[in-house]
Amino acid sequence: MTASTNSPAWPRRLCGSFPTDPWTVGTLIIAALVAAPIISVLLLATSPSDGIWHHLVSTVLPRYIQTTIILMIGVGICTATIGIGTAWLVTLCNFPGKRIFEWALLLPLAIPTYVVAYVYTDILEFAGPVQEILRDFFGWKSGSDYWFPEIRSLGGAIAMMTLALYPYLYLLTRIAFLQQSASLLEACRILGRGPWRAFFQVALPLARPSVVVGVSLVLMETLNDFGTVDFFSIETLTAGIYDVWLNMNNAAGAAQLATVSLAFVLTLMGIERYSRRKQKYFQTISKFQSISNFPLTRGKSFLAFFSCLLPIVLGFLIPAGVLLVYATQFYEESLSANFMLYARNSLVLSSLSAGLAALLGLFIAYGVRLSGNWILLAAARFASIGYAIPGAVLAVGVITPLSRADTALNNFTESIFGISTGLLLSGTIIAITYGYLVRFLALSYGTAEAGLSKITSNMDGAARTLGMSPTKTLIRVHFPILKGSILTAAILVFVDTMKELPMTLLLRPFNYGTLATHVHQFASDELLEESALGALAIVAAGILPVILLSATIRNTRPRHDSHERTTP
């Protein structure tokens, strides 16, 4: 990874000939590889779709769109409130239990959304224990005697997704708060602002890039979810995509619907970028002495304590507890001979993908920053929208370019060496790993980009003036500052790939299983209890990195009073 260092102006702009340095070319190649499946979905959308649009527009499409918008707004607002609120509390306020909340607030990340939905439906539906107890207690006979919120509803889906997804926002905003200079907040307090105004006028605007990345990740995840909306019979765009694809046997129509939902995401992103087109968010002051936390009164401590406790109890302890109970009763069914093999497969796949995604995400984010070229930025953004496409649709998008590449590779090796490679790419775990990268690059690229955006370009300038190459600048200057962001990226991808299902199912080789596919075979036959051990193993595998992540994040705050090395 060497780079041409004698570029006169930095950052470079697109003028005259297109830059051909390794960073630019590398970024474009990675972006193109990752974008290939997305493009193949778009291409599929151009084939004729049997007049499906007339039917959709005149019947269900308006409702699909309306439901999707309400779901996204609901999940967006709820996750932002919980995620940012708890991040602010544990980072800048003093109250009992704060040290534990710092990491425990991340735990719901480890539980797949559909598992949360299954568990709560069991508990809260008409036949569940909660309503049964209420009926017994008040002597109600039937459902018409009382009112109870229906869990299988749009509101229920918003609640389930909020519980499962708020940690993304918590995580990213917390890093942003930690990296903010204490002196800004102190200045704000000295000038007579209360903690609320310090939060709304200084800390939150400064954290905006991270909040935006967090919210867009949550919204994309909400948009592509099928497990929960299907279970609750909520008619979103994604549910519509599957309906057109599988019930109407119309893949082209499904791809067209997917394109509409992508346009949705791109528009949202565009509006956000436009609204802060003239703003930059650098941390220019380097005083990072420990933030003087806001002391809370007794009553407020109590409130803060419960605000942090509630999402953990609802999003982690209850679902994990129910899984644990099931797992102890049904471990024989799920502990098949292959269980350990599946666990190993999951770990291998997830760590491989996490490492690759973190490196590629950083590479692209830095490539875009170096060139300052809009084409690169556009390519990188496009490559990361795979996250918004429903997994099974994206998986189909992955197969097509891979099988083409297989044919080409096969023809090449046969003509030169006389060896047939068969389906080396699409028939092996290369396919899944590639699929994961396509789907989850948004996580690692977004996190790296948010981290880089907070480093002023003067740093690059200084390093380059002192004779460092771009690569050296990245390793010696940026990396120590970005360590937290990069690790965050890797762990987010790790945890997400552990849970990933539709792509894993379709892209895996013969006779190959992971914990997620093991869970699915039972869950898809309505056997949640039998799948509990596998689900619990996914949760367990996710917890350790999540705790590790939290510890690392706390240490990312640059300290002047410590003797820690500041270079890697």
Binding site: A239, N247, A251, A392
Partner: protein
């Protein structure tokens, strides 16, 4: 960077050390094996596949997935030789996409009755289940409901539960009504059924039994085998109670018969292990497999003369709709559109009256 590097190294080393097959596609080898894509869950098919390997020495490589198998076959033709499906929908979609080849086999034709296989041999049904009514033993009098058509009667207002109208099992049922009675009738029927619902269509088939047990509704639409799965559930004894609170009504016994659906098998157009793939389908249609494959999931064997599981037998004999499933499948698209047109899934209690 170091940590990530270590992580990568670690996973790569595990990868290299793991057994053959992970980086080896295993499809280029000829003879002695058959590559299978399956819509059916591994725990349902593995015991029977093991037996096939024992009997024939043919190794079966399996990949299970519930969506996208069709597209995967299109993109990598020849990677799989055979497909097992869990219902008629995917058999029909595969046939329409022209990724299958017709199979002529006297064994298969002898074992599987004509309505349950494709006329040209593009697919063969292997097990059968009926889409019946689960009715409350206490609250539904014998003879009160005897047909699908009865479900729209005003006296059943607010008493019916079902899973999503878009679920493949319901779509096939609706398609069969279109096939017999036409589109206009089915649209009215769906409206009438919607008006009689007790709650928004949701949950799975077992959830309908649970709702009847708890008194939320009196009648549910469900597949027969769920009854068996609940009746034999030792670990979740509450499910036995659900099952005990209901009885099965086989609709339309006085006219066309109850709607049935099949799980089935087919062979891909570019199958490389054609002979083995046909052997597998023939094995699955034979006495031994029919009994085991159907019995395990409380389904009905298709081969005549094969004993039905005693529990399944206890639900009573019934007359199955004799219409060709290939014909029913042709109406699935229309059925799906009718669910949209009647806004079936968008049921609200307040909007009923």
């Amino acid at each position: 960077m170091k940590r990530i590097g270590l992580l990568l190294l670690y996973s790569l080393s595990l990868l290299v050390s793991s057994e053959r097959g992970v980086l080896n596609p295993g499809v280029a080898e000829a003879g002695g094996e058959v590559n299978l894509y399956s819509y059916r869950q591994p725990f349902l098919i593995n015991p029977i596949l093991r037996k096939f390997t024992q009997n024939t020495g043919i190794k079966v490589n399996v990949m299970f997935a519930d969506k996208g198998i069709l597209e995967k076959i299109k993109a990598t033709p020849g990677a799989a030789d055979a497909v097992l499906t869990s219902d008629i929908a995917s058999l029909n979609n595969l046939t329409e996409a022209r990724v299958l080849q017709p199979v002529k086999s006297t064994t298969l034709e002898k074992n599987i009755p004509a309505p349950y296989r494709h006329p040209e041999g593009f697919w063969y049904g292997l097990t059968m289940r009926a889409r019946v009514l689960f009715v409350s033993k206490g609250r539904v009098k014998p003879g009160e409901v005897t047909s699908y058509e009865d479900l729209t009667k005003p006296r059943l207002r607010g008493r019916i539960c079902t899973r999503s109208g878009k679920h493949v099992y319901n779509i096939s049922l609706f398609a069969s009504i279109i096939a017999h009675k036409g589109e206009a009738f089915t649209r009215r029927w769906l409206k009438g059924l919607k008006a009689n619902l007790a709650r928004k269509p949701s949950g799975n088939d077992r959830a309908q039994a649970k709702a009847i047990y708890t008194g939320q509704c009196d009648i549910g639409i469900a597949n027969t085998y769920y009854m068996g799965k609940m009746q034999t559930n030792e670990k979740k004894a509450t499910q036995k109670k659900w099952a005990a609170s209901i009885r099965i009504v086989f609709p339309n016994q006085n006219d066309r018969g109850t709607h049935v659906n099949v799980s089935g098998g087919a062979i891909t157009k570019r199958a490389r292990n054609l002979v083995n793939a046909i052997k597998l389908l023939e094995f699955l249609s034979g006495d031994y497999a029919q009994k085991l494959y159907a019995g395990q999931n409380f389904e009905y064997p298709l081969k005549t003369g094969v004993a039905v599981h005693p529990l399944v037998k206890s639900w009573g004999e019934f007359k199955a709709d004799g219409i060709s499933l290939a014909t029913v499948a042709k109406h699935r698209k229309t059925a799906s559109k009718l669910v949209d047109l009647t806004d079936f899934n968008n049921f609200k209690k307040s909007s009923r009256n």
